[in-house]
């Protein structure tokens, strides 16, 4: 290890140019020497005897800021709680925050900055699939560690990413089984925003509906991101009269989508609607009254009644204000620092390779998660429970169904 890290710093040195050479090499040598004295950090991460630095990378500006704010708030809360408990391996966590600005290239740039300049031990961040896809090569190249909180399309498993949200099959299959059984649904109308996550989710949903449930997809439609005109889709839905509208409309489009549904007289009295893209955060914009009686499938709802969640909601509101709501991704983001703490403590070091190796053993678990019990699978995703929530006027959901603990399966056979 000693030899390799010196060689590493020398190869790094080789590419440095100009006046800083001498300063650079002595700094690198010093860094690698002092690092070797400490087994908690042998790869030159930003770890001192009493602090460890991590990055938070979410959009604070731009269209995604509304969605990502909750996630970064939850991460800060978790970090604060960990620090209050004495930190990780006796070190207090310091945070460097960067703004992804809802712009995928910026996510790549800032990831590189956090890993190369700041040498953070872990990054909690990204929200959209596009931002993760943009940042992913950087994390793989610089051997960083990213905790990614959003439920997403699956079909990915990187050594350098821990996925704390649900992958598509965990979210979709049980919800479809539930609606088929509970509502006797046979015909489905699929509608989503036009990008990778809804498309992949619908692909999985269609296969499950046709091959497993023996149902029928009577329509499948995608609208551009940010679209606010759903009139033609709503007319088609009226014509086809599906048992279930299965929706993955994201972001601001949701407001128009649900308001136009209501204006067209399609409400929960006559129509079952199941969505995989509405959390408490979106409901804030849509308005509970436009959504009342419709269903969401998520792994977490703010209204969940358990001691972990009660404590979490209370702490969150204390830190970020009584008006704040907590959606699925916010809770998943909260798990990130805790999962990292568990892995680091088990590995006894902050080294990314060792933390990943420990995470891949498949036995890191959190009994204190607000959503209940979660366990990290060796494929970097979480075992979790799928829940169906029925929306109320006040913007909160009542959980009407809970699955068993579901195994994550990012590359589902028969659904690709």
């Amino acid at each position: 290890m000693k030899a390799t890290s010196v060689i590493k710093s020398l190869t790094r040195f080789e590419f440095r140019r100009g006046l800083l050479r001498v300063v650079g090499v002595s700094a690198f040598l010093l860094a690698s020497l002092s690092a070797q004295a400490d087994s908690a950090n042998t790869t030159g991460l930003a770890v001192t005897d009493d602090t460890v630095t991590v990055g938070i990378l979410h959009s604070l500006t731009g269209t995604m800021a509304i969605s990502e704010t909750g996630a970064q708030e939850a991460e800060k809360l978790a970090i604060k709680q960990i620090n209050d408990m004495g930190g990780i391996l006796g070190r207090q966590i310091k945070v460097i925050q960067e703004d992804g600005a809802s712009d995928w290239p910026t996510f790549a740039e800032k990831s590189r900055k956090l890993l190369v300049k700041d040498k953070v031990a872990a990054v909690f961040g990204c929200w959209t699939s596009a931002s993760r896809k943009a940042a992913l090569p950087v994390f793989e190249k610089e051997n960083g560690l990213l905790y990614y909180p959003t439920f997403y399309e699956g079909l990915e498993q990187s050594k350098n990413v821990i996925y704390t949200g649900q992958e598509a099959t965990q979210q979709i299959l049980d919800g479809l089984n539930w609606v088929a059984k509970e509502k006797g649904a046979k015909t489905f109308y699929l509608i989503g925003s036009d990008y990778i996550w809804p498309r992949t989710s619908m692909k999985i949903a269609r296969k499950h509906i046709e091959n497993v449930l023996g149902g029928k997809v009577v329509g499948e439609e995608y609208k551009p991101l940010g679209n606010t005109q759903f009139g033609s889709v709503i007319n088609k839905i009226r014509l086809k009269k599906p048992d279930v509208i299965y929706a993955a409309v994201v972001g601001g489009s949701n407001v128009a989508w649900f308001k136009q549904l209501k204006a067209a007289g399609i409400t929960s009295k006559k129509q079952t609607l199941l969505t995989i893209s509405v959390t408490e955060d979106e409901v804030l914009g849509i308005g509970g009254e436009n959504l009342e009686g419709f269903y969401s499938i998520m792994k977490y709802f703010q209204s969940q009644d358990n001691p972990n969640n009660k404590a979490f909601v209370k702490a969150f509101k204390e830190m970020w204000g009584d008006d704040s709501v907590i959606g699925d991704v916010t809770q998943a983001a909260y798990l990130g620092p805790w999962l990292w703490k568990a892995a680091v403590e088990k590995a006894g070091t902050f080294d990314v390779d060792k933390v990943v190796a420990v995470s891949e053993m498949g036995d890191i678990e959190l009994t204190t998660a607000p959503e209940g019990y979660v366990k990290l699978h060796k494929n970097h995703h979480l075992w979790s429970v799928a829940r169906v929530g029925k929306w109320n006027k006040d913007g909160q959901a009542t959980v009407v169904y809970e699955s068993e603990l579901l195994e994550p399966d990012p590359f589902p056979a028969g659904y690709q």
Partner: protein
């Protein structure tokens, strides 16, 4: 010699500016910036291609294009398609339902490589496509509009509309284009790791030389007879037309050149950043490019580069230091430049630069009079 001096460099002031810029990007940045920052500067300099193209088209040609992102994007996508195909070898993509095609196609249930992707297996074709396709597209658009004497605001709006259409097309046809995610995870060029530190240095310098080359080419265009015609067309188009020139052909030509220059920037961007996405094609990036050009001074080829560097440097540092406030700081920067220096950075240099040069001249005179004139006297005194 005088050809080089007058036509390619633009006389004394042009040459001075060119040398200062070349020293800055070729010597000073690589010496004083670490690789991470240098890579960022490299990325900014790819935008500078678009800004320089706007100096030709807008500053001199008087035709504002709000769609340079189209050509930047076409160039970038061309390069990205080649690199993606190389990254999608059957071995690398064995996990997919259809190995050997780019991952996003597999996610979108496409089972064979679309016909228009096939030629991008060839590097020669890719380079030609980057140089020719955007220019050819610009020719089509330019011919359709300038021949009908559409210009000014209408032209700006139409270019903007095309940028929107192209974005919608790329996002909508995600099976063929990678959609909103863009084409990501590009790793090698002919088996050579483009994410390595060596590659980053090489691309940086290639990028600098291309940019300096583009500036020389643009200077040549502007100092030629054609350049004077451009100015004449901008100021009194009818008079040029009545003098017997075919105004539309000149406009089409400069539009094609501007497209070509932007496309080179796009291709270099893909190589240095490692991916391409529709967020470089649409309205926002296109308008940003106009801002780079305006801040630099729309009549100055060199100023456009500084404008690009200043804005992007501001963007990066402000957002790193004040993640929650940085947009306001950027807004402040734009407003103050437009309010106080309507001719951009180049305008500041023209208005106040002579104070600096005068001062230097004074110092030099003083030096000559004080040191050199006194010398004999001093010598005499010493001798005496």
């Amino acid at each position: 010699m005088s050809f080089v001096y007058e036509k390619l460099m633009g006389g004394k002031s042009g040459l001075t500016g060119f040398i200062i810029l070349a020293t800055l990007i070729l010597v000073i940045f690589p010496t004083f910036l670490d690789l991470f920052r240098l890579n960022l500067v490299g990325k900014y300099l790819t935008y500078a291609f678009a800004a320089v193209s706007l100096v030709l088209l807008w500053g001199y040609g008087g035709t504002l294009s709000l769609g340079q992102g189209i050509f930047f994007g076409l160039g970038g996508y061309g390069m990205a398609m080649f690199l993606k195909l190389e990254a999608s070898s059957p071995e690398n993509t064995a996990i997919q339902s259809t190995p050997g095609i780019p991952d996003f196609m597999d996610w979108n249930q496409i089972t064979s490589l679309p016909w228009f992707w096939e030629p991008f297996n060839s590097f020669t074709f890719t380079i030609l496509a980057i140089l020719i396709l955007p220019a050819a597209f610009a020719y089509l658009v330019g011919a359709a509009m300038f021949k009908r004497r559409v210009g000014g605001v209408y032209f700006a709006i139409i270019t903007q509309v095309i940028a929107v259409i192209l974005t919608v097309l790329i996002v909508g046809q995600q099976g063929f284009t990678g959609g909103i995610n863009g084409i990501t995870d590009l790793r090698t060029l002919h088996g050579w790791d483009i994410t390595s530190n060596n590659a980053k240095y090489i691309f940086y310098f290639v990028n600098c030389f291309l940019l300096l080359g583009v500036i020389v080419l643009s200077r040549f265009i502007l100092t030629s007879k054609f350049g004077r015609l451009l100015l004449a067309m901008r100021d009194k188009e009818d008079r040029v037309r009545f003098s017997g020139y075919d105004v539309s052909n000149f406009k089409i030509f400069i539009f094609c050149i501007a497209a070509l220059i932007s496309a080179i920037g796009g291709a270099m961007f893909t190589l240095q950043v490692g991916f391409m996405s529709p967020s470089f094609v649409g309205i926002v990036p296109s308008i940003e490019m106009v801002i780079f050009c305006a801040i630099g001074g729309r009549m100055s080829l060199i100023g456009a580069v500084y404008g690009t560097l200043l804005i992007n440097f501001g963007k990066t540092t402000f957002s790193e230091s004040f993640p929650e406030l940085w947009l306001f700081l950027m807004g402040g920067l734009f407003i103050s430049v437009v309010m106080f220096f309507p001719n951009g950075l180049a305008g500041i240099w023209d208005d106040y630069g002579h104070y600096l040069t005068d001062r230097l001249k004074q110092l030099k005179d003083k030096f000559t009079t004080v040191v050199l004139n006194r010398e004999p006297k001093q010598l005499a005194e010493d001798a005496g």
